[in-house]
Amino acid sequence: MSKKAFYIAATGRPGPVVIDIPKDITNPTDKYEYSYPERVKLRSYTPAQRGHAGQIKKAVQLLLSAKRPMIYAGGGVILGNACQQLTDLARRLNAPVTNTLMGLGAYPGTDRQFVGMLGMHGFVEANFAMHHADVILAVGARFDDRVTNTPNKFCPNAKIIHVDIDPAAISKTVVADVPIVGPVDSVLNDMLEILASAEEKQDAKALEDWWKQINEWRERYGILVKPRYRTDGDMIMPEEVISTLFEVTKGDAYVTSDVGQHQMFAAQYYPFDKPRRWINSGGLGTMGFGLPAAMGVQYVHRDATVACVTGEGSIQMCIQELSTCKQYHLPVKIICLNNQALGMVKQWQDMQYDSRYSESLYEESLPDFVKLMEAYGHVGIRVTKREELRAKMEECFAMKDKVVFMDIYVDPTEHVYPMHIAPNGSMRDMWLNKTERT
């Protein structure tokens, strides 16, 4: 049973398996023979081993003929260990790459060909590129509603190639023109092999124009090209905290997050160059995920820098784990963007409910996090002044052996932008800030 569970958990579309062991089985007087089979075979579970050769060939031809190609890669590329293949393919095709929230790090975040995360809080240039693309290669992604905005307005000009290990993910919300069911690493390898001997040439002129257009969008809208948030005030801006975190950790930390504004800021302002550096609950939307996830990472990578980007709401979902951090010596760093509110809920209340803040404000009910940390035997640092941010963060990460909690008071009025205009918007319809839209 255990072997079967691990087999199912680790193959196909990987994921957790629950084994329910009743109490009577654990009775020490009952002895069972130990047996752990070498291999398991399940007649009802046979994940695809290869992609369909004909479909793969068709996909490659489509990509070669594309004038405005686009690669849209999700968390499946990371789970399927196909990041190198993805990078090779993108370089070979000179195609722009966007990653989903779960796919961040699948393609190097600071690379020229990376146009940023896409979707609801994605980069404008990524969403524009998707909207105007004529061929989209979707790999290990599932066209989530946080990505597509209104499905029937999604990428009107594009032929869509969809590679996924799970047949149920294909043509679920957006119909694929070339569906390929198979493990992403093997499918991408097959594509690279065909490309190596392909005689057909890409339209170099069209690609050049495409890149020119994308770079124009990037110049005009890119949030990492220059700050699009307020930089002249006294308040600490949450975006600035993440950028500072990126610089202080030299972009090489393992970053986990919870759910909310801080999660989106972290995804936007901390480019990941390597896979499995960004640990997130994604579509499950689990507040309280960040701290335990950070502990898990730290437990495996003892010397690594692990930062849990969180908010004062999310961290209190699993705050008891600070005790476990003590018990197992897991010196994670907690970066708390404290805006004294459930920021994302508040943002939606601002935008859609005339700022009627129902149950989203803390109103003086927050604990003193510094004292709380001290009670657990850890270190707490409160930051309220903008000019102190960098020095205090450096101080935090210099304490290698300590659990450190940075309680950073950020501008409570800040919203996450860019943001899809919904309902009934397409990929290119976005708010750039509180008043301007595309």
């Binding site: 199912i8 399940l42 007649r43 009802s44 579970y45 047949p167 149920a168 043509s171 679920k172």
Partner: protein, 163 residues
């Protein structure tokens, strides 16, 4: 459109609940459902009818296939197939009605399998439409109790669903 989906699955505890759970979680409605073991005791054959357009049915079959306990499945309505449903029905049969009901049962090729002074218990098999038609023929007013087995189906000709 009405579809008949036929599923071969592991004859294990919890398997049925996963299939049914999938329907309720995703908001699909099951019209009828029948399950029983096959000649291979480790396998159960489940037949269910549901209503949906092509896209919805494709989603249902893909998600059913995704369940670990599901070995194989087929949408019978995609090709030529045979479907049958068994119905047991109690009908009030007194006076002149007795002969009338008897004639009706003969026309529908059913059998009267139990009799009292006032009640016939009748068994009829056929497609769901035929069973519905029988209600009309005897008149709903005289029906006392109805038990239907739900649809069982099998492909026509040489096509077989087996592992």
């Amino acid at each position: 459109m009405r579809r008949i989906i036929s599923v071969l699955m592991e004859n294990e505890p919890g398997a049925l609940s996963r299939v049914v759970g999938l329907f309720s979680q995703r908001g699909y409605n099951i019209e009828s459902l029948t399950v029983a073991p096959t000649e291979d005791r480790t396998l159960s054959r489940l037949t269910l009818t549901t209503i949906g357009d092509d896209h919805k049915i494709e989603q249902i079959t893909k998600h059913l296939n995704r369940l670990i306990d599901v070995v194989k499945l087929v949408d019978l309505t995609e090709g030529a197939h045979i479907e049958r449903e068994l119905m047991l029905i109690k009908v009030r049969a007194t006076g002149a009605q007795r002969a009338e009901v008897k004639r009706c049962v003969d026309i529908f090729r059913g059998q009267i399998i139990d009799v009292t002074a006032t009640v016939y218990t009748i068994q009829i098999t056929g497609t769901s439409d035929k069973l519905d038609a029988f209600f009309q023929a005897v008149g709903e007013a005289s029906i006392l109790e109805v038990v239907r087995s739900g649809v069982s189906g099998i492909g026509r000709g040489e096509k077989v669903l087996t592992i």
